[in-house]
């Protein structure tokens, strides 16, 4: 059964393009356009194998989402990858402190994205 990757980003372009790239690589993809929508889906029973989130989103930020997920029983240990235009070291440190799994700066080459995702989910 393919792994589920949950993408959270307020950009429709990012959601669609990442979904296409990951889907082509054999992953099942679920999406949310905001941190709040992501939390609702997760609280509703979605159990992804991995989350990919943006940092800067209207409302709940990606960092807040990571912090929230890390308190949710059953999914608190799933890998969370940050994919963002943000490149400030302080923000990286903030993400690291929130227990993000890794950090990718947009635009991400599809090969790089797949390499990192497959590193985290080696069984696809």
């Amino acid at each position: 059964m393919p792994s589920i990757v949950f993408i959270v980003d307020d950009s429709a372009t990012i959601l669609m393009s990442m979904e296409a790239i990951l889907h082509k690589a054999g992953f099942t993809v679920d999406k949310a356009a905001s941190g709040e929508e992501a939390v609702t889906k997760l609280q509703g029973g979605l159990k992804p194998n991995m989350i990919i989130t943006d940092i800067h989103m209207p409302g709940m930020s990606g960092i807040d989402l990571i912090r929230k997920v890390r308190t949710m029983p059953g999914i608190q240990f799933i890998p969370i990858l940050v994919v963002t235009t943000e490149s400030q070291q302080a923000k990286r440190d903030e993400a690291r402190a929130a227990k993000a799994t890794g950090w990718l700066v947009k635009p991400v080459q599809p090969d790089d994205l797949l390499k990192v995702v497959k590193q985290i989910l080696p069984n696809g």
């Binding site: 372009t13 400030q88 635009p107």
Partner: protein, 241 residues
């Protein structure tokens, strides 16, 4: 367009004394005329008193005119200049709003176009996969199908430019709002020279905007604009914690 200038403040230095001097001169002239007329009237010279009042009043007007010629035009000219600067500032605000509106339109149009392109590429990719499954007769045809489908994933990746551009435009909008606020402050201060010292300076405001900078390139642009030679370490594009 209404001018945001406030006119109730203290006039610029040097102009405040001139109306007072003028008023004093007129008051003295009127007082002298009144006194002379009263004395003449007491002595029984009604016609002469009337003539004195008229004459001295005309003298007061003449003195006022002379003083006015010397001191009057400057405050008016300065005031007009201040109004004009305030008007210009207001027009700059309209200009920056235009820039923001344009930015929003760029974001909307590129966002819509990027979505259509992603959908098209995804569909094309699916069709290439279906074609690939059916083509097994000749190696050449199979290679051709592979070649058609090969760039699709990279093209999908490149479409992230839209999100990056959107954030760059949003940053410019935030900067222009700061400039707008500064222009409003400046326009308000035009009638009060003492308040000019209290107007926040651009450097501080742009530093505040840095809080919203998400990209190293934006921060470097800011440093360059501020005359700071600072190359910031942006960190690796991929980092596993």
């Amino acid at each position: 367009m209404t001018s945001p200038v406030t006119t109730g403040g203290t006039a610029p230095s040097g102009t405040a004394e001139r109306p007072a001097r003028l008023l004093r001169a007129i008051a003295v002239a009127v007082a002298l005329a009144g006194s002379a007329a009263a004395v003449v009237l007491a002595l029984g010279g009604g016609e002469l008193a009337l003539a004195l009042v008229s004459l001295t009043s005309l003298g007061g007007v003449a003195i006022g005119y002379v003083l006015g010629r010397e001191d009057g035009p400057m405050p008016g000219a300065i005031r007009m200049l201040m109004f004009r600067v305030a008007d210009e500032l207001a027009q700059y605000r309209a200009f920056t709003k235009l820039l923001r509106d344009q930015g929003e339109r760029i974001t909307e149009s590129t966002g819509g176009a990027a979505s259509v392109i992603v959908s098209g590429l995804t569909e094309m990719d699916a069709n290439v996969d279906r074609l690939r499954a059916k083509v097994d007769e000749t190696e050449e045809l199979r290679s051709l199908v592979e070649a058609i489908g090969a760039p699709v994933v990279d093209m999908l990746g490149q479409l992230q430019f839209q999100d990056v551009t959107q954030q760059q435009i949003a940053f410019l909008s935030r900067l222009s709002l700061i400039v707008d606020q500064h222009m409003i402050d400046l326009a308000k201060q035009l009638g009060d020279r003492r308040s000019m010292d209290r107007v926040g300076n651009f450097k501080e405001m742009f530093n505040k905007a840095l809080d919203d900078c998400v990209m190293t390139s934006q921060r470097e642009d800011h440093h360059a604009a501020a005359g700071i030679d600072l190359q910031e370490a942006g960190g690796p594009k991929i980092e596993m914690f």
